[in-house]
């Protein structure tokens, strides 16, 4: 158990939209205006087909991309750029290969101005949290994919952000590792009560993890459905309740996929 638990902050999106201009002057709408409120400590999962703008949405929320319209607020503050108070876990781990495992976990702590000794203690605590205490002095390249992502999770939680964005964090892992890490992530989240926005295109993963699921559709990206998942943890993907929700989500997704395939048939550029 960790000493101090800093609870998550709420996140509110108002008319958040993004469009790009292509080289020949056309405007591509990547994300239609989104309005959404996320409660402090909520686990929100965004599901959608590729090209639905879910990564764009996450990059805007993290402050890595500017929105074309609207605003996002974390607590009271409007998101204007990246901030160490908003953590992010990337699909391809994004560990710094020149640093040891513990060096990676300490990176954000050092940026926060925490003294060396305390930094090390905190980092060791978070490595213990993900079960990697014995690997503190290893290099990232010596670890398996699942272990790398655990290091990245430790690195993100160690800076005590009030909200954590996860961009398909388990997308590159094999099914078994993926299951294990989903379970671990839930345990850590329940302990720390951070607000989490998690992106995936796995429907089962979404239902397994989420308090609420946001279903997005492609071209242009917009929210189709918001769905509360009221099952208690740990959830059983083979249970009838789980299956019922799964059917509903797939029904919505299939409708949209059919629509976008029809569109592709009509428009050779799409």
């Amino acid at each position: 158990m960790l000493a101090e638990v800093v609870p998550g902050k709420p996140l509110s999106l108002r008319g958040l939209a993004k469009h790009y201009a292509t080289a020949d002057g056309r405007v591509i709408e990547a994300l239609k205006p989104v309005d959404l409120d996320i409660a402090p400590g909520e686990f929100l999962v965004v599901v959608g087909p590729s090209g639905c703008g879910k990564s764009t949405l996450l990059n805007i929320l993290a402050g890595l991309t500017e929105p074309s319209a609207g605003e996002a607020r974390v607590g009271e503050a409007i998101v204007r750029g990246p901030d160490i108070d908003r953590g992010m876990v990337f699909q391809d781990y994004a560990l710094f290969p020149w640093l040891s495992v513990i060096g990676n976990v300490e990176f954000g702590l050092e940026r926060k101005g925490i003294a060396r000794r305390e930094r090390r203690e905190v980092a060791m605590r978070y490595l213990a949290m993900v079960g990697l205490s014995d690997f503190a002095d290893k290099r990232p390249r010596e670890l398996s994919g699942g272990m790398k992502q655990r290091v990245a999770i430790a690195r993100t939680f160690a800076t005590e952000p009030s909200i954590i964005f996860m961009d398909e964090p388990f997308g590159a892992l094999d099914a078994l590792t993926r299951r294990h890490l989903q379970h671990e992530l839930l345990r850590i989240w329940q302990e720390h009560r951070k607000t989490v926005v998690f992106i995936t295109h796995s429907v089962v993963e979404a239902i397994y993890l989420a308090d609420r699921i946001v279903l997005m559709t492609a071209r242009p990206g917009r929210i189709k459905t918001v769905l509360k998942v009221e099952l208690t943890h740990p959830r059983d993907p083979t249970s009838d309740d789980f299956r019922t929700i799964e059917r509903r989500v797939y029904a919505d997704l299939d409708e949209e996929l059919a629509k976008s395939f029809r569109m592709e048939g009509r428009d050779p550029d799409a």
């Binding site: 890595l64 990337f90 020149w98 690997f135």
Partner: protein
């Protein structure tokens, strides 16, 4: 797990075992030296060339000892090393920052790249006449030639290193508290590109070392190149050979230093 359970770069054995391992690495060099001397001696014994064409290894060794004792050889070697070192340092001072700037700012690269490509194929030796006209046969001219010879390998490798940084590492750095460009450079860009920069520094030292001899052959009153050209003029081929051997041995030594630095700072692995 399997990859991580055997720690890389750590082999068993105490200091004695480590000494033997290090010594064993030098064996190929020893074989090479013995082989070359054997062939050399055989040629001298069989063909019996005049002393001014090819002296025996023994006579060369005697001359070597004489030149060391008289202080001539250390002085010439020191001149050559000093020239390469100062020109190479100057080149690094200009090329490393410029390389980072060109690697990170596409606009600057677009402007400067054609200039670089125009000058790069010109051998540093082609600059010797102009160097003599502009700077005379004193230090300035030779340092200028070496500067040209070492500048491009450093520049091109630094550009490549700065350009090929995985963008997700940049995003991770910004998320983890590198809010401004300066801290992002120090904590992410610089360490990410460092192995490639070291490659450039090492390669360029080699080209500089080759070029200084050529520059001193043409115009100098000191240095190993001068020792060689002077030996030719006074028909003392033993001087020539002493100069050549010294160039070879010093070259190997410098490269060993760079290899050591490379091992220490290269996070890309063995």
């Amino acid at each position: 797990m399997t990859a991580a359970s055997a720690p890389a770069g750590q082999k068993p054995g105490g200091p004695a075992a480590r000494f033997y391992r290090q010594a064993a690495k030098l064996l190929p060099y020893l074989y090479a030296a013995v082989g070359v001397i054997a062939v050399w001696w055989a040629v001298v014994l069989i063909a019996k060339p005049h002393m001014s064409l090819l002296p025996s290894p023994l006579l060369t060794a005697q001359t070597f000892a004489q030149l060391v004792a008289s202080g001539e050889l250390p002085r010439d070697a020191a001149y050559s090393v000093f020239r390469v070192f100062s020109a190479w340092s100057l080149a690094a001072l200009v090329a490393v920052p410029l390389g980072f700037a060109m690697g990170r700012w596409q606009r600057l690269e677009r402007v400067l790249d054609p200039v670089v490509e125009l000058f790069r194929p010109i051998s540093p030796l082609a600059w010797i006449p102009l160097a003599i006209l502009w700077f005379g046969i004193d230090e300035g001219g030779k340092i200028f030639v070496i500067f040209i010879g070492t500048f491009f390998p450093i520049l091109l490798n630094t550009i490549a290193g700065a350009k090929t940084i995985d963008p997700v590492l940049i995003r991770a750095g910004r998320i983890l508290g590198c809010a401004d460009d300066a801290s992002l450079f120090r904590k992410v860009v610089l360490p990410a590109a460092l192995p490639q920069v070291i490659v450039g520094l090492r390669i360029s030292f080699g080209t500089g070392w080759a070029a200084i001899i050529a520059a001193e052959l043409v115009a100098a009153r000191s240095g190993l190149g001068y020792l060689i050209s002077n030996g030719m003029e006074v028909l003392r081929s033993d001087y020539v050979l002493v100069g050549m051997v010294t160039i070879g041995v010093l070259g190997v030594l410098f490269d060993a230093v760079f290899r050591w630095v490379d091992r220490r700072y290269n996070w890309m692995g063995e």
